[in-house]
């Protein structure tokens, strides 16, 4: 058994199956709560626990999947480029908005962590949680955080953003579609953006741009923290 599960193919095949199941469930239930990534992670954990497979074995294949994170982040550059016209027209509100958003996110996380008396490692893990996972992972490990905790926090934040986005727009009277889009992208990255796309084309595009720029802002702010 150990020989089979320690093959890199095991981790890769298990991950792909788990993700497929996640996508199927998500399509059936049509709710942001049934997030495919969340389902896939829970499924893989369940399989590893039930069959008593060491995480190290799973990681033989897992490491290969993780290798694609950097190219996937780089690919975000192309999605910013594809919104170039919108970006040129509204660069000032976008840049100022994401700069404020990224700062407020990190400050509010820090203050709440202090109120809840969480330790330094958890604070470092949670600080970048509003930005897209690949960037959050890098910032977290740079600050001395725990990457898996960061991944979990990013997913929770994204799901919450996707669920509450329409409600927040109503409660806080956000009438400007550009403002709504940038805000969704800044507070809940790609998962929130899926909701922004449903709200309208401007909101979707703005949210997409905000993911990348908020990410870069967060990286820059983190430089002063480490």
């Amino acid at each position: 058994m150990n020989e089979i599960t320690s093959s890199p193919y095991f981790g890769i095949v298990l991950s792909i199956f788990a993700f497929e199941v996640g996508i199927k469930i998500n399509k059936k239930l049509k709710t942001p709560l049934a997030n495919p990534l969340l389902i896939a992670i829970l499924l893989v954990i369940a399989v590893l626990q039930v069959f008593r497979i060491p995480v190290a074995n799973y990681n033989q294949g897992g490491a290969i999947i993780t290798m694609f994170l950097a190219p996937a982040t780089a690919a975000l550059g192309i999605s910013i480029y594809s919104q170039l016209e919108l970006l040129k027209k509204n660069w000032l509100p976008i840049v100022v908005g994401t700069a404020v958003g990224a700062a407020v996110s990190m400050i509010s996380v820090f203050v709440l962590c202090k109120i809840f008396k969480l330790d330094e490692v958890l604070i470092a893990s949670l600080l970048p949680k509003s930005v897209t996972t690949p960037i959050a992972i890098e910032v977290s490990s740079q600050l001395g955080g725990l990457v898996p905790v960061t991944v979990a926090a990013v997913i929770i934040t994204g799901i919450a953003g996707a669920i509450f986005a329409p409600l927040m727009i109503k409660i806080f009277h956000v009438k400007e579609p550009i403002a709504a889009g940038v805000a969704i992208g800044a507070c809940s990255h790609a998962m929130g953006t899926t909701k922004a796309l449903e709200l309208g084309q401007v909101q979707g595009a703005m949210s997409g741009i905000a993911i990348g720029i908020t990410g870069v802002m967060t990286v820059v702010y983190a430089l002063f923290l480490s």
């Binding site: 896939a40 509204n90 404020v100 958890l122 400007e176 430089l223």
Partner: protein, 122 residues
């Protein structure tokens, strides 16, 4: 062959990102540098979107999949989280709302300020 070439271009950009980061005097995520390099190469027309379209579409459309192993590793930190799970959940949701409001109001404010200036200029 086309797809292999595209993979080579994207990987080369990632490698370039690592090289640039290694000479910077401060720590900067290599993958984010790769993102900036790709954006600049497209902006200055060094690279055409067609050269990398299929590969980047593949990466962007399957983005979530690549995070599965990073998420699974949470079982190794379970002990640390046991007591703080609810607090972390609360922090994630509260700060998400605060960030949304701050960003939305800032953007609205800047747009209104721009419109006012435009009117004055006219």
């Amino acid at each position: 062959m086309k797809i292999i070439m595209q993979i080579a271009i994207v990987f080369a950009i990632c490698l370039l990102g690592q090289i640039v980061v290694s000479v910077l005097p401060f720590p900067f995520p290599a993958s984010v540098m790769g993102m900036i390099i790709l954006f600049l190469l497209l902006l200055f027309k060094v690279l055409k979107v067609e050269y990398v379209r299929e590969k980047t579409n593949f990466l962007l459309q399957n983005m979530a999949f690549f995070f599965i192993p990073s998420g699974v590793a949470i079982i190794e930190n379970y002990g640390l989280l046991k007591g703080s799970a609810l607090k972390i959940l609360a922090i994630c949701i509260i700060t998400m709302v605060v960030t949304f409001v701050a960003t939305a109001y800032t953007v609205t404010f800047v747009i209104k300020w721009q419109n006012k200036r435009r009117k004055i200029n006219e």
